[in-house]
Symmetry: C2
Subunit: 330 residues, 2 copies
């Protein structure tokens, strides 16, 4: 059994209130007493009980972090940024995968709220979750990494997906492409909608008619990119360029292109989104839209922390700018 402050108090011959004070750096404890208490506590292997403390303080030192899919290399980077910042500030983070599933998303948020996390950082796909969070709002400070309708239920932190997609597609247009396809991610996710919008904007800005055959959706994984690209290549008039809603889709697409005996970028150019580490591998050299992933995690924590410490009013929304990185697939 873990020793408690009572055990220490007994051994020290003081009240347990004094032990509490001594251990939590409270003033008004005689130095001599404090030293003795600290020494004995160490000897006994005392380790404060964060659960008990959380109960009485009505504030845990935990943060809930929900991502759609931790095996997508984007999210580990964000997770690192978040965790580093959180740990430095004395917080621990719960990590959960929603699997892009709305029901699971709701369930996870509920569980995290039961755990009474002090803060919540979530990549949301469902508007229902926004409601859930809104109802719990007074207790749990939330940062949402998506551009959702929010009505101040939470701070919004996100990258400008529309701009990013526009940059990608305009780059392809500048390279002389007109037949540009779009391999989307999960159709019903905010990021996908925004990236799709940017794609359409770019076409429109340059007077290129959108071709509905050229816009298809999958999930956000390799296999999906491969499958969609294969379909695209079977089209009577196949595209000469592809904008993919994320790098995994782009990578899958490239595989399919090569399997068809075509070259990238000569026959089909490809631009992805997210600029995962992999994209810069010599073998890959994928052109992509880059955004600061580690930074985003860090900022997300700082945003919740600011509210937790009650420093000033919470930001309403923070927007990060993506940039185009041209490599050899376009």
């Amino acid at each position: 059994m873990n020793p408690t402050i009572k055990d220490i108090a007994e051994k020290c011959g003081v009240s347990y209130a004094t032990v509490s004070r001594a251990l939590s750096g409270h003033p008004y404890v005689k130095d001599e007493t404090r030293e003795r208490i600290i020494k004995i506590a160490r000897q006994m292997g005392y380790r404060p009980n964060a659960v008990a403390r959380g109960l009485v303080m009505r504030k845990t030192t935990t943060i809930g972090f929900m991502v759609p899919d931790i095996t997508n290399p984007v999210f580990p980077e964000v997770a690192r940024g978040l965790e580093d910042a959180a740990l430095a500030a004395g917080y621990t983070v719960f990590l959960c995968n929603s699997n892009w599933d709305k029901d699971r998303e709701l369930r996870i948020i509920d569980i995290l709220l039961q755990q009474r996390v002090s803060g919540l950082v979530v990549f949301l796909c469902s508007e229902k979750s926004v409601d859930l969070i809104r109802r719990a709002k007074m207790d749990t400070k939330t940062v949402c990494i998506s551009n959702m309708s929010h009505k101040s239920a939470m701070t919004l932190l996100y990258i400008d997906n529309e701009l990013g997609a526009r940059q990608a597609v305009e780059h392809l247009i500048e390279r002389g492409h007109r037949a540009i396809a779009c391999i989307g991610g999960l159709e019903d996710t905010a990021a996908n909608r925004e990236r799709l919008k940017g794609y359409h904007q770019a076409l429109q800005n340059h007077g290129i008619a959108a071709c509905s055959d050229f816009v298809r959706f999958g999930d956000y994984r390799l296999e999906s990119g491969h499958a969609i690209m294969t379909e695209l290549l079977r089209l009577p008039a196949r595209p000469t360029a592809v904008f993919a809603a994320n790098d995994l889709l782009a990578l899958g697409a490239i595989s399919a292109i090569k399997e068809h005996g075509l070259r990238v970028p000569e026959d089909v150019a490809v631009v992805g989104f997210d600029d995962i580490q992999l994209a810069s591998l010599p073998e890959i050299q994928l052109s992509s839209i880059s955004w600061p992933k580690y930074e985003l995690g860090k900022i997300a924590f700082e945003l919740v922390a600011r509210c937790l410490e009650g420093e000033g009013p919470p930001e309403d929304r923070v927007l990060l700018q993506p940039t185009l990185v041209v490599r050899s697939t376009s």
Copy 2:
């Protein structure tokens, strides 16, 4: 403020013990009462406080999970397996990165123990951490995913690194290679030691003298593989094959080889370890040692869960077998 069972009790005109019973499915509550309570609880948006429950039950429903580096694609896979299993059993998981840093490792374990996690799943690098866990053993059931000395401080779950490395190197030998280098990971980690041992065993089994110039260590990341391979290629007698302690190192090595104008596998063959998803990409096609990552996470949870539910004596150690996957880099 979140409503408590007292708030519900008041509104229902019953004692709060009854509410507790009704809500936690206890028998001996009149159906009618129970229904009324549940209905009101729902109306009020009641959400049980896991912190309070954890305190009184002396058991949280949380699991601590410490990995060396979540941005290494091996660990997200394991994390998924762990989380899926944990969530299904009603547990939530804290994720922490040790960054392969022994001090940080100790600090994280301490924090996790403060949080009174019911179970601990850790990739350990330091023996000191084993001591820390041993001292806390009576309270926190631990599964360690490394082959550490343990003396029953915890259950050991790991893959047979030695065997895997031996398979990799013997495969290279069968392909006719004699000058086989080893790009190791962090020198002072268990996985690295074991994989290195397998490398030496294979050489020895086939009467090949080990060449100390051919064995070098980095960390477990791409850049490191690149740097070491570059050194290796500058050697007067350069190796014709390389065994890398993980796939990221292997990928970095391949980049370096290509940059030198050499071909893989014709000039230098490469085999990695871990078989990350990436390895099977058409552009990559890395030969590697494969092991069940998602499964490992799942098993890790099952091992702690078994102890938590007190079902039989804990396993002492569980060993998973890796397999060689030959692709086009060897």
